[in-house]
Each structure stands twice: as structure tokens, then as C-alpha cells.
């Protein structure tokens, strides 16, 4: 018995160390980016590791003073938030209908929705530019970016919500119906509270996808609605080596979402457990 305990102890220490080492390896590139953001552009390309440089805030000052970081950041917050909300507003009723009142075609519709996500964006760039700029006149507006981000993520939102809603016993909903509750009431008072974890993690995941979207947000904006993805594109230059600057911009662009992810990690796991993954 003693040997077993000992070997388990040793084994446990081994697995713990391994977990730590792997986690650090996975985090290293991000650490490296943050680290580089405190170097000048000249220092940033030097192959010396560690602390042979004087840390500087120059890159961050430059970013906020000359590149209007806050405007891009605010646009990212606005578009991602409202796109997520809109996707939920459209997605919850749809998932509700599919989960509690399925027809023969429900699964096909769901699959078709998911397949729209596979359409290559590059194929419709010109039509989209033409439509939004010349025909609808919504180019470079928050409205357009919110709609586009919502549509891109809608299939995944509906599918995730569908899997959560399906876990809720139909009887509960039926009981509500007997009591004369309206459909809206059912959704608001019964469904959402019951599936709250799932709704929250769906929202979180959608927000992350919106924040990181970099095809349409770059190509359908000029200045008014440009998000952080566009700020990053602007800091890659053909004749100028700006790793320090680029790292600072990148850190400032992914920082908020990483911190949000950290805080909500538990929620995300709990939410996912309830529905899709189980």
C-alpha cells in the first residue's frame, strides 16, 4: 500500500509539473508579445532574450496619441456588444421554436444554417462592397458592422441555444402553456432563467468571435466604424519594421478579450456543460 501511495504521489507531482510546463509553453507567445511591446522598435528585433533592454512605454503612448486607439476600441466594444445582443434576440426565438416545436425539416434547416458559415467571404467581397456602399449607403457604419457580425455568428448561436433548450424537459414549457402564459412569457420567464448558463456562454463565445473578426470589419469600414482589427492591419507596413509598436497594438487589442475570457472561464465551462457538450 505504501508503495502505491508513494508512486501515486510521485505520479501526481509529475502530472502537476507537466500541466504547468505545458500551460506556460502555451502562454509563452502571448507573454512574448506583451514583453516585446515594452521594447523600442529597434530593440524588438534584437535576438537577445531577457532583460538587456530598457523597458519603455513609448509604444503605448504612441498608440493612444497618434493612432486613436480608444476610437477603435470603443467601436469594437459597440459592434461586438450589439451584434451579440442582436444575435441573441433573433436566435433565442428561433432556437426555441426548433427545440420545442420541431418539424420534419428542423434539423435540415439547422444544418443549412451552419453551412452558410462555410461560404468563403472573399467570394462576395465585391458584391458586398457594391451593395453596402452604392446601393444601401450603409458602408462604414456601426449599423452595418453590427448586422454583419450578427449574421456571421447567428448559425452558431442558434445551434448552441438549440442544444441547451433541448435539455429542458418539454413538460415544463407545456405546463406554462396550460397556465395561459404567452409565448413571450414562456421565453422570458421559463426558458431563459432555466437555460441561463447556456445563454451566457453562448453570448460570451459570440462576443469573442465578433471581437476577433477581421475580414469584414477591415473591408467594410473606413474610419467611423473601424474596429481594433483594422488598427492592427494598419500597423503592418512594407517599409518599416515596427514589432514594438505592433506588439503594443496587438496587446491592447487582444488584452481586453483575454481578461474577459479569464474572468468568464468558469462561466463558460459551466454553461457548456449544461448543453451542447454534456
Amino acid at each position: 500500500m505504501a508503495t502505491i501511495t508513494q508512486s501515486t504521489k510521485f505520479g501526481s507531482a509529475f502530472w502537476t509539473v507537466l500541466a504547468w510546463v505545458i500551460a506556460l509553453i502555451f502562454f509563452f507567445p502571448i507573454f512574448w508579445m506583451i514583453f516585446t511591446s515594452f521594447k523600442t522598435d529597434a530593440d524588438a528585433v534584437k535576438p537577445e532574450f531577457l532583460f538587456k533592454f530598457t523597458p519603455t512605454l513609448e509604444n503605448y503612448l504612441n498608440m493612444t496619441e497618434n493612432y486613436d486607439y480608444w476610437r477603435f476600441a470603443i467601436n469594437s466594444v459597440i459592434t461586438s456588444t450589439f451584434a451579440t445582443l442582436l444575435a441573441l434576440v433573433v436566435g433565442i426565438p428561433a432556437a426555441y421554436a426548433m427545440a420545442f416545436d420541431p418539424s420534419r425539416h428542423t434539423k435540415d434547416i439547422l444544418m443549412w444554417m451552419l453551412s452558410t458559415k462555410m461560404l468563403p467571404a472573399a467570394a462576395v467581397l465585391y458584391p458586398m462592397t457594391f451593395l453596402t456602399k452604392n446601393f444601401l449607403g450603409v458602408f462604414d457604419t456601426h449599423f452595418l458592422i453590427i448586422i454583419v457580425l450578427c449574421l456571421i455568428n447567428l448559425p452558431i448561436v442558434i445551434w448552441m441555444l438549440f442544444t441547451y433548450f433541448k435539455e429542458i424537459p418539454k413538460e415544463i414549457i407545456e405546463a406554462g402553456k396550460m397556465d395561459g402564459v404567452t409565448t413571450w412569457g414562456e421565453i422570458k420567464d421559463i426558458l431563459i432563467p432555466l437555460a441561463w448558463g447556456g445563454v451566457a456562454s453562448t453570448a460570451l463565445l459570440t462576443f469573442i468571435f465578433c471581437w476577433n473578426e477581421a475580414y469584414w470589419t477591415v473591408r467594410l469600414t473606413t474610419t467611423e466604424a473601424a474596429t481594433l482589427s483594422k488598427l492592427i492591419e494598419g500597423n503592418r507596413a512594407p517599409e518599416g519594421l515596427f514589432f514594438g509598436r505592433l506588439s503594443a497594438v496587438s496587446t491592447a487589442a487582444v488584452g481586453p478579450i483575454i481578461v474577459l475570457g479569464w474572468f468568464c472561464q468558469k462561466q463558460l465551462v459551466r454553461g457548456l456543460t449544461f448543453g451542447a457538450v454534456k
Binding site: N66, L125, T222, G234, A237
Partner: protein, 428 residues
Amino acid sequence: MKLGLKSALALAIGVATATTASAADELTIAIVNNGHMINMQKVAEAYTAETGVKLNWVSLEEGVLREQVTSDTATGGGQYDIINIGMQEAPIWGAAGWIEPLEFGEAYDVDDMLPAMRNGLSHEGTLYAAPFYGESSMVMYRKDLTDAAGVTVADNDSWDNIKAAAAAMHKPEDGVYGACLRGKPGWGDNMAFITTMVNSFGGAWFDKDMKPALDSDEWKAAINFYVDLLGNYGPPGSEGNSFNEILALYNEGKCGMWIDATIAASFLEVDGVAYAQSPNAGNPVGANWLWAWAMAVPAGSPNSKASMNFIEWATSKEYIKAVGNHPDFGWGSVPTGTRTSTYAIPEFQAAAGFAAAEMAAIESAAPEATDLKPYVGVQFAAIPEFPEVGGAVAQEMAAALSGAKSVDDALAAAQKAATAIMQEAGYF
């Protein structure tokens, strides 16, 4: 949601104009984020203070900029008041009516503009884009290393000598590579350098019927030499190196010589840099390239007058003085390669050791169509199809450099792809 609602309202009413259309007291300028353009944003604060015109800068990665500006201009424009374009686009966009002809006042002294730049940015004698800074290519090498190795690099040296010098300086065990050259695929990246090399071997992109000439003996000789030189005496990973990557290597003291844009000289921080005119294998179509980052006004811009005023200022003699006298910048960082007068300024001559070499390189570049090549442009052809052709060929050249394909196979594939594109475009 307020912003969203406002836009929704605009949609509902059916406002079919571009929403960014702004009053003439505000200009939206799309730029590539190169050093000189970054400085411009600072220097232009004085312009805003003086004229009251607010400037919105949109900086974009080169490829994305081209894509966005193309899709904007091709669908009627309106997003940008001023766009940053290169010498490849200026004449053909001018010909297509996508950008407006530029006319400036007497004080602008358009004749002061370097003739090569003015020609390259014009179509049928009309100037369509004003050069903000210009460049050619030249050899930059480490005098200390050539001296130590007992070799010399001369102006318009033979390629064999260049190779000998590279071989003599090549000491990978000490972290020094003989020659750093562009290898990253892209018509403006590896092909810019490769084309000048092919030119110096007597080759060109197209023959007199605009048929691609990539299977010619000149191309074969040049590419074999290129792969040999860079493969044996270049740094590892050359197929991923372009201007930025090599600049970093050079400043780390890892390159014996570097043949690239003259603008690089103003970024070099190592001691003992010497310059020489581009090597030449003896049969010149031209041995060095010519490029300008220029500013143009998209056709149909509601603010074209204000835009032209700004361009007139930003490419003027005064602008160059403003940068030279600016407390943050100084004479070492003025945009060069655009005006003859710049090179006559004593402060500039004192601050820029590369001035004479750069001027000589730009003046010797020959973008005009000749008997040897039927198209305008040195390291590119000023035709709308060139980015596609150049991009396809660039990938094949990178494959040859990587060793994934033999030079002959790569050139054959490049020729096939280029022919298909030109045929598709209705050239033959």
C-alpha cells in the same frame, strides 16, 4: 444603439450616398504605414493649424490598402479623399479615369520633380499622382567586412564580382551572411529585386507582343544565378525575407551586403555602410528599380479641391523643409527621391551620406518602354494584369529558392501561369 439607429434611419430614408462624405473641412487619407507617412501625420498638424482642415488618417497594410482602394474606386469611390498609391497603379488608374489629373500652382515648381518620377506617375503627359517619397535600388555593404576579406564592390559591378564578395564575407558560424536579398513572394517584394536582376541580364517580363518571356535564356541565367547566390551565401529562411526582415538582419550586423530600396539607407544603424550602384551583368535594360509612394485623388471625390491643396502642400519644397526643421525629425528623415532641389540643400547633404548614391540610382533608372521591353515600368509592368502575373511568378521563384522546384521547372510553371493570365486578359 444610438449610432446604430441613426444609421438605420439613414438606410430607411434611402440615403444612397457614401456615409463618409464629409464637408470640405475634413479629409480622409488612406496611407501605408511606412516611416515617412507616419512622420507626415505629425508634420501635418501644422497644416491643420494653418488651414483648419481636419485630417483623418486611415493606415492599412499594403495589400489590404490596395484591395480596399481598388474596390472603392472600382465601385465609384467616396470612401477616401486622398489615397496612397504606387507607381504601378498611378498611370493605369489615371488612364482608367479612377483618379483625377493633378494641377498645381506656379509655386509648386513641378519641373523641380525628378523627371523619372514625373514620367512614372503620368499617363500621356498628365500627372495623376504626386510623389511623396521615391526610391531606386542600390547595393549597401559593410566596408569593414569587405576590407577584412580583401574584396571590393564597385558601382555597376559584375554579378560575378558580387558573388565573389558575398562568398568572401559569408561566415554563418559567426552569424554573418554574405548577401541578404529579397525572397518573400510578392510582385513588390521578391519580384522587384529579381526583375532588376533579370533586366541586368538583358531579360524583361514581356516580349514585343506582350507575350510573357519567362522561359527566355536571360531569365534562366538570372534565376540560376539568384538561387545560387542567395542559396549559398544568404541567410536561412530567405524565401520569407523582404525589406523589413532584411533591415532587421542588417541592423543586427548579419548581412555583408544588401541590394534593396535606397530608402533603406536612412534606416541603417550599423557603422561602416558603403553604397554602390546596382550590379550589372553587362546587357542593360536597366539595373535598378524605380518606385514612388505617391498621393492621388480618387475620381468623384466631393472634396477634390481641398484634397489637391493638401497634396500640393505635402509634396512641396516647404514640406521637406518642415520635416527638416521639425524638432522630432530633422534632415536625416526628410522624404527623398522626389525633387532635385532636395539634394541641393546643404543640411540634407550633411545629414544623409547616401544622398549622392540615391540620386544617381534614381536618375539612372529607366521606366520608359523601349525596344527591349514594350511596357512602362522597371520592376513591374504598368498594366492592370501585372499584380496577378507578378504574384503568380513570385510564388514560383520562392519555390525555386526553397529548393522545392528546379529553376527550370519553376520558370516553366511561371511562364504557363503568366501566359494564361495574359491570354485571359485578351492580349493575344
